[in-house]
């Protein structure tokens, strides 16, 4: 039906009383996510939209048994928040926060490996399994339950793609944002593997961008996939040597170019759409 989160997921919101945290807690509830608790140090005992708030993740886990957490905590404290979630036994941690120092991100991933925690992000729009659960900051209205898996490095661009899918009647099993930072939890390959294994997913849309070699690595894995993959890549017009917003979106020493990614994906049998709204048509072609 979906990957990573579903109707059984019990969501914790870290930073629940902050501006972003409380706004998105409300949005997630409105979408139907089972938000069972919030955490804000010093705010224990309060509630946000009838969701109880605790001082620590440990206290929230003790009382409400969440198994997934979404972090809306400023960059300076985000590592600590992720550590707390992992120490308290949370299995899936979605880190929305952007501008986290890369050494903190490495520390987070190090602990996650030891603990077997699934990390999505940082600097991600989150993950949604339409109709079942949303943990993220994406607009509620654009998603449609279905069987197309979507994975993206970038938030708003993936909304654009999903918006076009939904408009074309193509629903989504899960939509996952890897996050735009250099060091992120789940990689394209990690997520492709899950989509490949998921019975509820029949085809996949990969939304990539210039810089790094994540798309090339994904292409290598796509070669072995049974399910068809269609891609859209941003940054065709980007000049080399300029960091285009995301820490990783930069063509350095001739590596990570748009052309090399398109070549790799095509070689793996994945078609690359020239414009975002062409994705639905390409999908229709590959799924026969």
């Amino acid at each position: 039906m979906a990957i990573i989160i579903d109707g059984q997921t019990r969501v914790l919101v870290q930073g629940a009383t902050g501006n972003q945290g409380s706004f998105h807690l409300k949005q997630m509830l409105a979408y139907g996510s089972n938000v069972v608790a919030g955490v804000s140090p010093g705010k224990g005992g309060q509630s946000v939209e009838a969701v109880p708030v605790f001082d620590t993740v440990f206290a929230a886990v003790e009382a409400q048994h969440p198994n997934a957490s979404i972090i809306f905590i400023p960059a300076r404290l985000a590592k600590e928040a992720a550590f707390e979630a992992m120490e308290a036994g949370i299995e899936t941690v979605v880190i929305i926060t952007e501008h986290i120092p890369v050494h903190d991100a490495m520390d987070i991933m190090h602990l996650a490996k030891a603990r077997g925690t699934t990390i999505i992000g940082p600097n991600t729009f989150g993950i949604i399994s339409p109709g079942l659960c949303k943990m993220g900051i994406m607009p509620n209205s654009i998603f449609l339950p279905g069987t197309t898996g979507v994975l993206a490095r970038s938030g708003t661009l993936s909304y654009e793609i999903v918006f076009n899918l939904t408009a074309a009647g193509i629903g989504q099993s899960s939509v996952v944002g890897l996050g735009g930072d250099r060091v992120a939890g789940l990689s394209f390959v990690d997520i492709l593997q899950r989509f490949e294994a998921d019975e509820g997913t029949t085809q996949v849309v990969l939304v990539g961008e210039i810089g790094g070699n994540a798309e090339e690595e994904a292409a290598e894995y796509i070669k072995s996939m049974r399910k068809p993959v269609v891609a859209y890549l941003a940054g065709k017009s980007a000049p080399p040597g300029k960091r285009m917003g995301h820490a990783g979106a930069i063509i350095e020493r001739g590596k990570g170019t748009f052309a090399s990614k398109v070549t790799a994906l095509n070689a793996a049998g994945a078609q690359v759409a020239a414009l975002p709204w062409e994705v639905p048509n390409l999908l229709a072609q590959v799924s026969r």
Binding site: H24, R76, I142, S154, L157, V207, G212, A234, A249, L275
Partner: protein
């Protein structure tokens, strides 16, 4: 943030990595004085770019007079887009072997990676994979003595050189972690007699970590004024060469917007990611930055998620009311609070589109008119 060579070396020296005797100079007379003290020297332009040697940014001198002359020839010149205003005057080393040593981030492995080679001195990108030694570092362990033994074995170092190298590996990793570096590089790490010396040094600090290491490291700047102003507002801004200013919310969608604009024959003047969740004030300031660049037209592409369409619309309305907007403005606005946003724009006489295709076609038509 890239550090100048002399700054990188200062960090090295502070952390037990040997560097050549040297002095930072800004006028030829200082170069002469440095040569007087040091003896034969090399004068190196301090710019935030590689390839200085080929571009004429490095000179040698054996006497104070030669040093002054050489300094005079380099100082003030343009080199790789930078004006040279600082030189590092350093002892000329006896070079028996050049090694390469760096620590950076292995994105796929999500951890630091140490890269070394017994064949340094040239650009690491030009070295064959089999001449490189790579070792991922577990941040929970760091560099323990056995790892230094393994690295020395692979680099073919033994005896006193191996002992020094072990300290340099350890200390370089310390610099990498303590200063939140993205890259620390010594190229070449020179074998000079019985000694290892960092003959060059490159350090790039993670911009996101400046809040905690800003006090520890000197500051450099390679951005344009506009980029700096945007950064202060939390906005990603990159200047490009076209005539249509672009603003979108999210790095991916901004890149895609530029691509689409180009696809339809337009020429983007910039990359501007106003950020997810930009509020009224930030959006207004972002628009003002675009207006200040005097483009032919402005294309705004907002897909509201964490960003709310009503905030964006209110910001635009405010700017229009307060200082006027004298450039054609084409807006695509969908997503969170879309209806409210479109209403506010309408009330202020600003049209908006539902699809990016329509918006781009419109703005290209205006700019090319």
């Amino acid at each position: 943030m890239k550090l100048f060579e002399f700054m990188a070396k200062e960090l090295f020296a502070r952390n037990g990595i040997p560097i050549p005797q040297g002095r930072v100079v800004r006028v030829p007379s200082e170069a002469a004085a440095a040569c007087q003290t040091i003896g034969s020297v090399v004068l190196k332009s301090q710019i935030l770019s590689g390839g200085r040697g080929k571009a004429g940014g490095i000179k040698f001198a054996d006497t104070p007079d030669e040093a002054a002359t050489a300094a005079g020839e380099i100082l003030g010149t343009e080199l790789k887009g930078f004006t040279v205003d600082t030189l590092l005057v350093e002892q000329k080393l006896q070079i028996d072997q050049e090694l390469y040593l760096a620590i950076t981030i292995d994105k796929a492995a999500q951890c630091p990676v140490l890269i070394a080679s017994a064949f340094g001195g040239m650009d690491i990108e030009d070295l064959a994979e089999d001449k490189l030694v790579k070792h991922n570092i577990d941040v929970g362990i760091g560099i323990m003595p056995y790892l230094t033994r393994e690295l020395n074995r692979k680099l073919g170092l033994s005896g006193v050189l191996a002992q020094q190298a072990a300290e340099i590996f350890t200390n370089l990793y310390k610099v990498f972690r303590e200063y939140d570096a993205e890259l620390v590089e010594i190229n070449p790490l020179v074998v000079s007699g019985e000694k290892l010396v960092a003959a060059d040094g490159k350090v790039t600090i993670d911009d996101e970590a400046m809040f905690r290491v800003g006090e520890l490291v000197p500051h450099t700047e390679e951005r344009t004024d506009l980029e700096i102003k945007a950064a202060e507002l939390g906005i990603s801004y990159v200047q490009l060469e076209g005539d249509i200013a672009v603003m979108a919310n999210g790095a991916g969608i901004t890149m895609a917007t530029l691509d689409i604009l180009q696809h339809y024959g337009g020429h983007p003047a910039n990359f501007m990611d106003a950020g997810g969740g930009a509020g009224i004030e930030a959006t207004a300031k972002a628009l003002e930055i675009l207006l200040a660049t005097q483009p032919k037209a402005i294309l705004v592409n907002i897909f509201g998620g964490i960003t709310r369409c009503d905030d964006v619309a209110t910001a635009f309305a405010q700017v229009k009311q307060s200082r006027g907007i004298d450039v054609p403005l084409v807006i695509r606005l969908v997503g969170t609070n879309q209806a409210e946003g479109v209403r506010i724009l309408q009330e202020n006489g600003i049209d908006s589109f539902r699809t990016i295709k329509e918006a781009v076609e419109k703005v290209v038509q205006i700019a090319n008119a």
